[in-house]
Amino acid sequence: MNKVPNNRAWWLVLPVFILVAFSALIPLMTVVNYSVQDIFGPGNAYYVGTEWFREVLADERLRESLLRQFLFSGAVLAIQIPLGIGVALMMPKSGIKASLCLILLAIPLLIPWNVVGTIWQIFGRGDIGLFGWGLNALGLDYNYTGDTVDAWLTVLLMDVWHWTPLVALLCYSGLRAIPEAFYQAAEIDRASKWAVFRYIQLPRLKSVLVIAVLLRFMDSFMIYTEPFVLTGGGPGSSTTFLSQTLTTMAIGQFDIGRAAAFSLIYFLIVLLVSWVFFTAITHLDKEK
């Protein structure tokens, strides 16, 4: 669409600007301020420059949790994106069945995150949960509170359960936007199902897939509540992701300077990756 140059449009944006400045800019400046100081108490702070940043970058515990975070986000994307596409392809196209599927798919997305943790905490237990009990009954030695691998798989499974519907819904809306004539043409050409998917559906899904990957990356990278309720970060620190490490540092140990420096690095990583995706989205928008 052709947009008209008009700087008075700033007046319309002003309320958002003020609101977000209050709820984002002030806190962010506070974090920056903390990150360069060593604080012993009110009115007792010293400027330390980049010392916290150097310490954080050298911290073994943080590196481990960063690595875990990337592994987790990578696994989340690798499972959820293909599975979501698959589910979207299986969905009915219209009618009451389609509406029903949409509503049922959306349910996990609307459950408060701590309750998601609670559901899986119960579901995975060997004594009172169907999932844990079932696996044990099959002769598998499954215990998510004691075994690192089991804990990881449970957290991953929980996230797949929780967020695959989002990817499926996105892809479903992308598939619905493909004109029926495309399929008719493919039928005349006797195109195989795979060819229809590869050359008609997948290219058309590109723009929603970029959004899906962006949203899933961002949100899996900030995950806190669900694993905190489910495993509490354990056993050991095997499922402690970045947000939990940060929260423990800031609130638990009140290590403000270090936590602030860590926050900024954390934020920058998310921002950098998201910027790449955002550029891709605007690029795709222009192509249309």
Binding site: M1, K3, V4, N7, W10, L12, V13, V16, L19, V20, S23, A24, I26, P27, T30, Y34, G86, V87, P92, C101, L102, L105, A106, I107, P108, L109, L110, I111, P112, W113, N114, V115, T118, I119, I122, I128, L130, F131, L169, S173, Y183, S207, V208, I211, M218, F221, Y224, T225, S243, Q244, L246, T247, A250, A260, F267, V270, L271, S274, F278, D285
Partner: protein, 268 residues
Amino acid sequence: MNYSRSKGFGMTLFIVLLLTPIYWLLNMSFKTNQEILGGLTLWPQNFTLANYAVIFSDSSWYSGYINSMIYVSMNMTITLLVALPAAYAFSRYKFVGDKHLFFWLLSNRMAPPAVFLLPFFQLYSSVGLFDTHIAVALAHCLFNVPLAVWILEGFMSGVPREYDEMAYIDGYSFPKFFVKIFLPMIRSGIGVAAFFAFMFSWVELLLARTLTSVDAQPIGAIMTRTVGASGIDWGVLAAAGVLTIIPGVLVVWFVRNHIAKGFALGRV
């Protein structure tokens, strides 16, 4: 292409797998604790509503739901009020710094809430808003406003400019045009934006818990008290969980036809 049997089977299987954990929670909420701990039963043998009675008869329990509802509705109202004009500006005009501003807004949707935890706590304490509903509502604007602007901008860009121009020619003032003509045209977009504001404010707990202590405590924080000296009260925990799922299911019913478009941020 016809909707084939194998697809229907696959879809049913996925939905069943999706609903099983939720069924398990529902199942447990109707059981007594003796039955829960006594052994695995696929449906309640001694059906009881006692767990729900605990929640509905104790104001410290049900006030959690009321608190959550209050700050969620406040957040929805604020979000829509500020996001509508901004989205209009982004969809219609070019102005100095528009692209940077848009990305800056979105970057707040990307900010991990954990980063803002401590500054938020201090900021709201210093202005005397700690433990109020409005504090949580404002904090949730951090990620809801950018998302709402993004969604609404997508829907608004779908309305041709000619409508705006026609209205001016017909003698409508801008506010009158905006409220009487433009808003009704994008009402599905507004519904979707409101739905997303509801959703992300309803499911968030980290900020909501940190910014409240007693008066505005969300239900998610109250649920942790089922862990008592004698272990976890599983039945009540399950009942409380089930009750948090219901509002979401009710709301999703209203936007079922637009939800997919909304998840694509109005961009399909």
